[in-house]
């Protein structure tokens, strides 16, 4: 653990704008977006964090500043230490942006594509930024907080099939589902159950479809 603390103090000495980030496990820092690539490069080359475990993002919901935070988890195969590096995304809600680290770790390629797919974050300098889990041409970014859990009605990816079958991607029927709660400080009695169909309950029977 001390290896990662040392590495981060060295990083803070080198980049004065780097600040500590609250964390309940491994040491973590907040890095300004402009310093991100240089800071990660310095961690990789000077502190020996050679394995990029994970790249992901957090959506802090509409109205928060910054709205999106990109998070990098690094691991050192020599000192077996781990650090977390976070950076706020620049740009507006519709097109947040953060520099790409594919040049440092080719493995970041798919992680960044996933974050782009799920949050719509543009990784500047990414060689091939397209969707990975959802299909090309899918109009939404599902992990954004404003995207409903049930999904939104969308056309099928294959237009020919869509025309032939008249089928669509429809929101999930969630009556009786397990989704009772939502995150944050909200009173859960008010939040629950969001997907409940109010047209039937214990006293009045379920209407026949």
């Amino acid at each position: 653990m001390s290896a990662s603390v040392d590495a981060l103090s060295a990083l803070k000495a080198k980049f004065p704008q780097v600040t500590d980030r609250a964390s309940r496990d491994c040491p973590a820092v907040d890095v300004p977006t402009a310093d991100l690539v240089a800071a990660l490069k310095s961690l990789r080359d000077e502190a020996g964090f050679d394995l990029l475990s994970d790249v992901t993002a957090i959506d802090w919901a509409e109205g928060a500043t910054p709205r999106f935070t990109a998070v990098y988890h690094l691991y050192s195969t020599t000192s077996h230490a781990a650090v977390r590096v976070a950076t706020p995304c620049t740009g507006d809600d519709a097109a947040p942006a953060v520099p790409s680290v594919v040049a440092l770790w080719p493995g970041a390629n798919w992680h960044e594509r996933e974050a782009y797919d799920m949050f719509g974050i543009k990784f500047e300098g990414h060689p091939d930024l397209r969707r990975i889990l959802m299909w090309d041409g899918y109009p939404y970014h599902p992990l954004r907080k404003e995207f409903p859990l049930a999904g939104i009605e969308t056309a099928l990816p294959d237009l020919e099939v869509a025309e032939e079958t008249q089928a669509k991607v429809i929101p999930a029927p969630m009556v009786g589902g397990p989704f009772v709660a939502s995150s944050g400080e909200m009173n859960l009695t008010e939040a629950e159950p969001r997907a409940k169909d109010e047209s039937w309950n214990e006293r009045s029977a379920k209407p026949q479809a």
Partner: protein
Amino acid sequence: MATEIAFPDSAAKAAGAEQEFAPEKMSLSMGPSHPSTHGVLRLQMELDGEVLTKCDPIVGYLHRGDEKIAENMTYNQFVPYTDRLDYLAPLANNMAYAIAVEKLAGLEVPARCQAIRVLTAEMARISAHLMGLGAFGLDVGAWTVLVHSLNQREHLYKLFEELTGARFTTSYTRIGGVSRDVPEGWLGRVIAFCDQFEPALEETLALLTRNKIFQDRTVGVGIITKADALAYGLTGPNLRGSGVALDLRKDRPYSGYEQYEFDVPVGSKGDCYDRYLCRGEEMRQSVRIIRQVIAKFPSGDWYAKDARKIFAPPKDKILTSMEELINNFMIVTEGPQIPAGEVYFEAENPKGALGFYIVSKGGGVPWRMKIRSPSFCNLSILPKVCVGTMMSDVVTLLGSLDFVMGECDR
């Protein structure tokens, strides 16, 4: 009417000729429904004859939005969803998730619970590696291996069923403990399994290890160099096959792994054969760990005593004590109250490092949960290693990477 005859200059003529005789590239799509893609992976390939010039894996056919789902349900409710990540080793996934949340909640689980978790995770590792081995054998034409490994997995499933009540999707681990104690005499049956498994494993591995046909298909095929493996974030047997001795059970011990002696097998070349050897040896080491766990199986509780706000109280207490009933009601309706903060925990799963990154704003539901799936990272190296290999070797390579799409696509 005069016909215009163009006389192109010689350079243009030569360029035209080159184009005419340039090898024609063929585009080939393999999957998403193909026996050797082990699920619903699709490879969009470009072939020059039989050699790949480009490979673009297309994933996401099994995307169920697990991370979105996690943001909309309580911590306890998400346990069954972890079964469906790497569905060949649900017990190991359950454990990784539980430890991540426990870290966030600051919970210490008792020694007996840790031992049960290690035991089940190692049994899950054997089960997952057996399936990987059998499927790999099938990919390169050795049919018998699958039959042997399925037979052994059946023994394991019987043990899982007795312990957890389910053969496949176990949902055994709870945050702060496990769902129930080991049944009477179960540990003896695990030992009995190990006793018959060890010779059976040697017999199964003997079908492949010195098999000329198998060696011809795998030795020197699909080489992943040490540098590439690290750069692409490979973990698990795929990384160790490339010669990096990274095993989180050894390097960052969790759940009491530091008490057990085991070796970390490491490959020398990083080819498909090395990855196969690593998995074979890991099963032997898992048996070794299982024997050690059972030899010093601790007594005591199998759930954390200080987890009153997380772990549902015992059923008899709920029905007899008002306070416990209220407690249970709060846990079920509002979820366990986890403090705000963020935590990232990686466990050494059969396929590699399964990570859970949980951001909490307090309350019973995570604000954000990212699942770092090893299969996803392991597959991301395909565009790099596939180029220049033969079409038939791609099947070998896929088999040796041993991925699970349920985990890759989440």
